[in-house]
Amino acid sequence: MSKITNLEKIIESALLVSQTPLSLQDIANLFEDDKPSKNQIKKSIEDLNNSYSKRSFEIAQVASGYRIQVKIGYEKWLSKLEKHNTTRYSKAFLETLVIIAYRQPVTRGDIEDIRGVSVNPQIIRNMVEFEWIKVVGHKETPGRPELLATTKKFLDYFNMQSIKDLPRIDNNE
């Protein structure tokens, strides 16, 4: 195995931890000075992939960029992993979900205001992964926070046609 350069290591670590694929531009943006060229990045990715020839994973190019994924052939073992993520929903999960459903589109800040605690980013990530919520835009306030709303999949799951079918609470309660 040839020597791994610093540039390669930074690219490797970024692809490893990013939740979404990274474009060449995304990768270049990690650097402040000494920005590598797109060709340099492409070459590094190629070299990294060569160095992974005996490993279980590789860097794959998909529509929105590059990502690290496990090579074909490991499904048999890894399919068992998913199951143990599916425990029960926490109170925090449910409350965050209903706020998004009833008050959409909302920002994390709105959710925090209503619940009085900071939003656990993992919860939002899980909901996005379930495809129950999505980012529908950005609010034009400082920081341009993301606006979250529920999806059709969310409605499907609960056999609802529309958000209007959500349970309603009497005002006098």
């Binding site: 794959a60 090579k71 499904e75 449910l94 529908v136 950005h138 609010k139 034009e140 341009r144």
Partner: protein, 260 residues
């Protein structure tokens, strides 16, 4: 500012406080200083530090006087003074009086009236130091990052835990109870359909760079539907999410996502 106040009290060191020695500092500056303290113990540690002495050698008279002067200043400036500060003032005054009045009791075992306070100060100092140490421990998403590899191109099948609408309703009732925001109580059919329509219009506006105002409406929905759409657009504009554009009078009105 925080770091300046935070130096280690135990050391008979030579660090010099940036905070003015006399108490007659501008009220705004005092406000900033006081807000930096985590409570009476923190303030006391600071005062002791300023005297450059070890906690165990605490001189109760000057410390008490200084502390009470601070408290009086805070009162004069009508700070929202936590009762904890007043309790500490009373404790200090009590210790002071015990120290001043010679004890009738000749018993040598009698505890130094300061002992309890010193114990508390040392205990607090310990956790204060630890809290700074734990802040330096390598932690996730600041010093190290966790792998988020994915399982090749095959669509990952996510098994969802079971959830029914009743649980959602219960969660919602909890939220309402917690928030006690009156506005949230008024969620009824109308409001909900407006919120949902806001999401739909946002989708529309994001997928089409400039969408005609009139294209947002679906006439087949009837009068009620048109009103809901109109309210949703107004709400989106009010919340600074979209812009409404019209180049000339009577020309087409367009909706677009608000620019950065």
């Amino acid at each position: 500012m925080r770091e300046e106040i935070n130096f280690n009290v135990k050391v008979n060191g030579v660090e010099i406080s940036e905070i003015p020695e006399d108490l007659f500092i501008p009220p705004d500056a005092l406000r900033v200083i006081i807000e930096e303290f985590e409570g009476p113990l923190d303030l006391l540690l600071y005062l002791i530090k300023k005297q450059n002495i070890d906690i165990v050698d605490i001189q109760i008279l000057p410390i008490t006087n200084q502390y009470i002067e601070y408290i009086n200043l805070m009162k004069q400036m009508q700070f929202d003074l936590a009762s904890d500060y007043l309790v500490m003032a009373a404790t200090l005054a009590e210790i002071k009086s015990k120290m001043l009045i010679p004890s009738d009791n000749e018993d040598e075992d009698e505890e130094d009236p300061r002992a309890d306070l010193i114990r508390r100060l040392m205990e607090y100092q310990k956790y204060k130091d630890l809290s700074q140490k734990i802040d330096e421990v390598p932690r996730i998403n600041r010093d190290t990052f966790i792998a988020a590899g994915i399982l090749n191109n095959i669509e990952k099948k996510t098994v969802l835990p079971k959830l029914d609408i009743q649980q959602l309703e219960n969660a919602f009732i909890d939220v309402l109870r917690r928030a006690e925001i009156n506005a949230t109580h008024n969620i009824n059919v109308e409001v909900l359909s407006v919120r949902e329509r806001m999401t739909q219009i946002l989708d529309l506006v994001r997928c089409n760079e400039n969408i005609k105002f009139t294209d947002c409406f679906n006439i087949t929905e009837g009068k009620m539907g048109v009103v809901v759409t109109f309210l949703a657009i107004l709400e989106l504009v009010k919340e600074s999410i979209i812009d409404i554009l019209q180049n000339d009078t009577f020309s087409n009105i367009y909706l677009k996502v608000k620019d950065e």
